[in-house]
């Protein structure tokens, strides 16, 4: 069978000693960073990107992916142990996980999270192997009109899932798109918005934008609220009992299904999936009054959902070259710097890379499951590190990382500027993630719109007359209308308020 052959090829790539090592480093760093206060996975990946430029493409992508799902696991750890979700997608885990920890079942909650994530990751890997080639084939039929509509759908989804006001998020996306246009125009070679500054002649690097907005901006925001974190409960027993296993089985399966579906949606489906799973489990449970007081289903379901969602978020990125969240946007940026044009051709031209990354995600999940039980003591100690010891180091990594991109101090000044931009956006309730997504998609959108219109002699109706393109645009409009409907709007606001 094709799928088996593909997975075998992936296993050969991901199973090589170097790639196992990079996978481990990624998972380890990711978990550590998820556990440490005040550093999100987007900032981490941005800070570590300059280092990956010296690696081969496989090694770099395997490590970056490892950081991504490792951070997800680390976020759940802090959610359970200190009631501080390190990640938006582990917000739900904090509800019942923390209560379990307070009842002395922290160890069980942690291993439940690890087991659910592993099972979900395994199933999601299989799903990717099944569906990525199909989607890839569809994607090969895509012309510029389809790509433009797909990118629009992606941006709309990012808006809908952003916190706060829809209009403000829309504005942030446009600012991001405009920032992405700085530099030479591909068609005419005209220098746009560079104001004669030499350091901007090739445009602004997405690494600088991400490090400034997510790294420095986050530091300033975190310094506004320096409260300590204290551990609750001691970790005694790690392994769930037989009864625990019986109670978590069905939630894991349902969570995986929900997560896999919602994860494909552009705009960060992992968070949505964990919320959805929690609601479903609460409705279906035989013990609904235990929810909020330490129900194991409330940890197992959402954890399975967010991990499955995090995995399937790779599908649109790997097959279409369209990022579904800001982390995927960074990984796309990393691929471009490695000389790989993300899109359906990656699967055909570089099957070893494609399948290697997918299988490495499964191996990484296995590592998380096996390693985290013995390493939990280390994570617990890291949770206690005060932020004021940590942030000067983040500052140093950002500054050196910015310099090393082009060995230019101008990039360091730009970094400072985007740090200020990041803080201002946060203060104005404009989420920075849509900005980064817009920044990466800006040039792609312009190029595809230009080509689509050129082929059709300037007639914009081509976007609506081609069936796939039209369907994608209708989906985008439907998504917008749905959010604007009063009832859904109210529930969206409630969902975000719980965080």
């Amino acid at each position: 069978m094709d799928i088996l052959a593909n997975l075998l090829l992936g296993l050969q790539t991901a199973g090589s000693l170097t790639n196992l090592l990079y996978c481990f480093v990624g998972v380890f760093l990711g978990t550590a960073i998820g556990v440490l206060p005040g550093l999100g996975p987007t900032a981490t990946i941005a800070i570590l990107l300059p280092i990956t430029f010296t690696m081969g493409p496989e090694n770099a992508l395997i490590m970056l992916a490892g950081i991504y799902y490792g951070a997800q696991y680390g976020g759940s750890t802090t959610a359970i142990l200190v009631n501080l979700p390190g990640e938006p997608s582990s917000v739900v885990t904090a509800i019942d996980g923390y209560q379990m920890a307070r009842k002395g079942r922290a160890g069980v909650a942690l291993s439940t999270a690890a087991i659910s994530s592993f099972v979900a990751g395994t199933i999601a890997t299989m799903l990717i192997a099944l569906f990525a080639p199909i989607l890839g084939e569809v994607a090969l039929k895509f012309g510029p009109a389809e790509y433009f509509s797909l990118l629009s759908l992606g941006l709309v989804a990012a808006l809908v899932l952003a916190h706060g006001s829809l209009l403000q998020a829309f504005g942030t996306v446009i600012v991001g798109l405009l920032l992405g246009l700085i530099g030479p125009d591909v068609n005419s070679g005209v220098q746009r918005f560079t104001f004669g500054i030499t350091g901007m002649q090739d445009g602004i690097s997405f690494v600088i934008v991400a490090m400034g907005v997510f790294g420095l901006g986050e530091i300033v925001a975190n310094l506004g609220d320096e409260s300590g974190r204290s551990l609750s409960g001691t970790i005694s027993r790690m392994l769930p009992s037989r009864a625990d296993f019986q109670r978590m089985a069905a939630p894991i399966v349902r969570g995986t299904a929900l997560g896999s579906l919602l994860g494909i949606l552009p705009g960060g489906g992992a968070m949505l999936a964990s919320f959805a799973s929690y609601t479903v489990e609460k409705k279906l449970s035989k013990f609904p009054d235990e929810f909020g007081k330490g129900a194991i289903e409330g940890v197992a379901g959402p954890e399975a959902a967010n991990n499955a969602g995090a995995q399937t978020a790779f599908i649109p990125m790997l097959t279409l070259g369209v990022p579904s969240n800001s982390i995927m946007a960074l990984i796309i940026g990393a691929m471009i710097i490695q000389g790989i044009q993300p899109g359906p051709s990656v699967m055909i031209e570089q099957p070893a890379l494609f399948w290697g990354v997918i299988v490495s995600m499964w191996i990484g999940n296995l590592m998380l499951l096996v390693l985290n039980l013995p390493m939990i003591g280390l994570w617990v100690r890291m949770i206690g590190i005060p932020y004021h010891f940590l942030f000067p180091a983040i500052l140093v990594f950002c500054a050196i990382g910015a310099f090393s991109l082009n060995n230019s101090t101008f990039d360091v000044f730009l970094l400072a500027l985007f740090g200020v931009v990041g803080y201002v956006l946060r203060k104005l309730d404009c989420e920075p993630a849509p900005l980064l997504l817009g920044f990466i998609l800006g040039p792609m959108m312009e190029e595809n719109l230009r080509r689509a219109l050129m082929i059709n002699r300037g007639d914009a109706s081509v976007l609506f007359t081609r069936p796939i393109s039209c369907a994608l645009l209708i989906a985008a409009v439907a998504l917008l209308v749905m959010v604007l409907l009063p009832s859904i709007r109210a529930s969206r606001e409630v969902a975000f308020q719980e965080e």
Partner: protein, 171 residues
Amino acid sequence: MSDRADYKQGGGAFSSDILQRKDFWSAILYVGLGLGTIIASLRYEFGSPSNMGPGFFPIILSTILVLIGCVIAVRVFARNTVGPDVRLGFINWKALALVAVSTVLFGLLLPYAGVLIALPVLMLVGAAASRHFRLELRAIIGMLLLSTSTVLVFVIGLGVPMPLLGSAFGG
């Protein structure tokens, strides 16, 4: 602002409240950025839909941005009631300034003084942004450790071409 008292007399409590609103400032930001981009894009050829010039896409985008800003502005003036969630709240000017200045200082000092001086300056000025900052033995040891390991990893290990001592020391 020195004329704040006049402001209150003229427009009542409403006009001074507005300066405290997040949505008001986002409207200003979007309209300002949008207009600025439109003006800057006028220098580039607009072209036509069938042959988009370099000015085409930016002008369309920034027009949308201005419109968004205007809609937000209208909503600011339409809704006088200020909930706690639209207020700007505490702005950490000190942290913002110190983090930005420390990064700029690093960039300025790097070629002239070298990484051995620029790094500690970056850490010291940056760390001062925290309320818990105290120049004590533990902090200095931490700073020296971090500087040495950073230089070892990045300059010597990964070969990032940063001068250890800059041109001011003949480096």
